[in-house]
Symmetry: C2
């Protein structure tokens, strides 16, 4: 079944206006499905961002009681195209493996929503959007700092605009998992089940350090132009590529890199002919280098540098316990949400002890929580890769929760929203 055929046109919510998201910058303009909020949103920093546009995609059909919605939250470099061909890269959606008819997040059963985060660059309001007071000029580095909680508050408005009061589930990995935790802490009554994957309740010093280096790599690029690169039709492609390359290493495990590439070498296509080119020895380069360069260069074609800065900053500031007097369990006291925490044994970016700490805090808050560590050598990226035990965990947890929630079993004949 063609997944794009499961896509429905969502009705504009109350008080929303359908319009074209600003796409200043270098990416090919693309009309993203979205909803606009004229009243905007007051951010944690105090700035009111108005109007606010949120771009999103949906898969499956909303049931008559609007009780089968699953919000999928994307990670740092993800976007709303979770389960269909990406309009810029032409590649399959980042969670096509998991979201679709008959798949663990079953679109025959669930109405799946995926929203580009606030501060992103795929249609939601972000640094690339025109600021209201500047005659069409993009925000750029003047875009106000957003937090994970701001992202979640913006998503909550989209969810409401779709006529959904309570989400059956909120699911996401990495920064998506941060959003899941923030949803459960901020809107406990609106989340029946929460599935935070490969994540933590705060960003560690090491993760902040990696993010800072990636930001410095962007600042070091001459085409950065103090953040106003769009003014000259430029992108800080080299800096952004370096940032992506470094981050990509942290997404994989040492074992995965060794298994995939080891120390295999290949002919260096540019060798020493160009003195400015990578220095090679005996005209060779390692395959892992070639792979990373590809990762870097393909990323810059689809991502905005100012969004990268904004979103990494939001991750760095994420610390749920800090918002609750230093006690993580206090964030979840009295919650009726059912939690399933998933970590991966070889993930060194969000290592298992960080997930276990979340599970422990939820236990202390007397929450309904299960915790699964998946044995894998694929590292942090395992949540995006073929990992059968992970798939079974997601499917099992959602099925069990659906039963508790009294959701209809899958059928091809669920009545649609009137």
């Amino acid at each position: 079944m063609d997944q794009s055929a499961t896509l429905i046109e969502t009705p504009p919510g109350p008080g929303s206006v359908q319009d074209q998201a600003s796409t200043a910058g270098t990416a090919a303009p693309h009309e993203h499905s979205h909803v606009s909020f004229q009243e905007g949103l007051e951010l944690e920093c105090g700035v009111v961002l108005a109007p606010m546009v949120m771009a999103y995609r949906t898969y499956g059909r909303l049931g008559p009681r609007a009780d089968n919605a699953v919000l999928v939250c994307h990670a740092l470099t993800g976007d709303q195209y979770a389960a269909e061909t990406h309009p810029v890269s032409g590649k399959p959606g980042w969670w096509s493996r998991l979201v679709g008819p008959g798949l663990p997040i079953d679109t025959d059963r669930f109405f799946v929503i995926c929203i580009n985060v606030l501060g992103g660059c795929m249609g939601s309001t972000g640094p690339r959007s025109a600021r209201p007071d500047a005659g069409g000029e993009p925000w750029g580095t003047e875009f106000p700092p957003v937090t994970i909680r701001d992202m979640v508050a913006a998503q909550a408005k989209v969810v409401s605009s779709l006529g959904i009061e309570r989400l059956f589930a909120v699911v996401g990995g990495s920064m998506g998992g941060m959003q899941v935790l923030s949803w459960a802490a901020t809107y406990p009554e609106r989340v029946f089940a929460a599935l935070p994957i490969a994540t933590a309740s705060f960003h560690s010093a090491q993760n902040i350090a990696f993010n800072e280096v990636s930001r410095q790599a962007i600042f070091a690029d001459p085409d950065w132009h103090g953040g106003r690169y769009w003014a000259d039709g430029l992108v800080p492609a080299r800096g952004l590529a370096v940032a992506r390359m470094m981050a990509h290493i942290t997404y994989l495990s040492e074992e995965a890199l060794t298994r995939k590439f080891g120390r295999r070498v290949q002919r260096d296509p540019i060798a020493k002919a160009d003195a400015g080119a990578p220095l090679s020895l005996f005209g060779e380069m390692f395959e892992v280098e070639s792979y990373l360069r590809h990762q870097g260069s393909s990323f810059v074609r689809r991502f905005d540098a100012n969004s990268y800065l904004t979103i990494t900053r939001a991750m760095d500031y994420f610390d749920i316990a800090m918002d609750h007097g230093g006690d993580l369990s206090a964030a979840f006291v009295g919650t009726r949400t059912r939690f399933c925490i998933v970590s991966f044994s070889s993930d060194w970016l969000f290592p298992t002890p960080q997930s276990r700490a979340v599970a422990r805090a939820l236990n202390k808050a007397a929450a309904n929580v299960s915790f699964v560590e998946i044995e894998t050598d694929k590292g942090h990226d395992a949540f995006l890769l073929d990992e059968p035990e992970f798939d079974r965990t997601i499917r099992g947890f959602l099925s069990g929760c659906a039963e508790h929630a009294g959701l209809a079993t899958p059928t091809t004949d669920i009545p649609t929203v009137p």
Copy 2:
């Protein structure tokens, strides 16, 4: 006792010429003690590098039988100033903690030699040196690729020039440890004891990947100028700083970063006033960011970008087993060198299993080997930091070997070389 007082002027070796090392580039010119080899060295790539200058420092006195020499090999960003105030940074030598009178590498007993690696930028021939055929023009990116074995061959010439046939010990951490292993494999008769620390017999895919990102960061800097930055009196400071910042994260453990900085914030000195400056949230930055920026900026004042490229490449190509038909133990068959392999439990750049593999190969080769994993949360950098069990290990191993070698016990009255 003032450590600098233990420094002796070493006599020029046979056939060597004392001259001023080339210091083209941006670092303040500084006359480094050195020895020149007019005949140069044939590198593994086939290029004959002639003349070749090697800068070095010595501490302690060579005994009458020239049997008490300890070669200390420095790591990627280290240099020959192991145990005295650094002439550029003004900081204590990188191993002042370990090398000195009464210290684990006891200069009352041993004659310690530390040599700037071939390809370096503190006086030894490297990319900053004038190439013989270019009228004083530096080599820059045209500097031939060197290997760890080339570095060791160059050191061997220095050692011979000092009238030393056999080294009592070769000691070093990280890339210094690679040199120790290469010494033992290449010149087994010239090494009585070998102490490779926090190292491996090959550079892993993950380590190659990190090095590649650091190289790309340098290439991304506009002041890189295709490697000819010196021509305009520039240095690719931003790129080199990014490279250093990233590498620095890999030198520490997650625990060490958390202990040192956690998520503490401080006022961002530049905040959002400068649009090109790091994006901060609420005018704050994390202490770990401030620390990394300092690491980056202080590094560029003392290191040459082309040397960074040359030396990281040498590390990437290091693979002793590959030089012996894929069998690491074959590199050490028949060796009489005594080995002590040291790893650190929280080192994720050169993790313990890589050291254990070296110990296993040495066992297979029937070598005399001991292996110690030091429990610490300080990560790879532990070999440079206060770690009492590590100090005891070094002292104990060297003392035991000295006894076996029949070395005189420490005295203030060892007769000097005639």
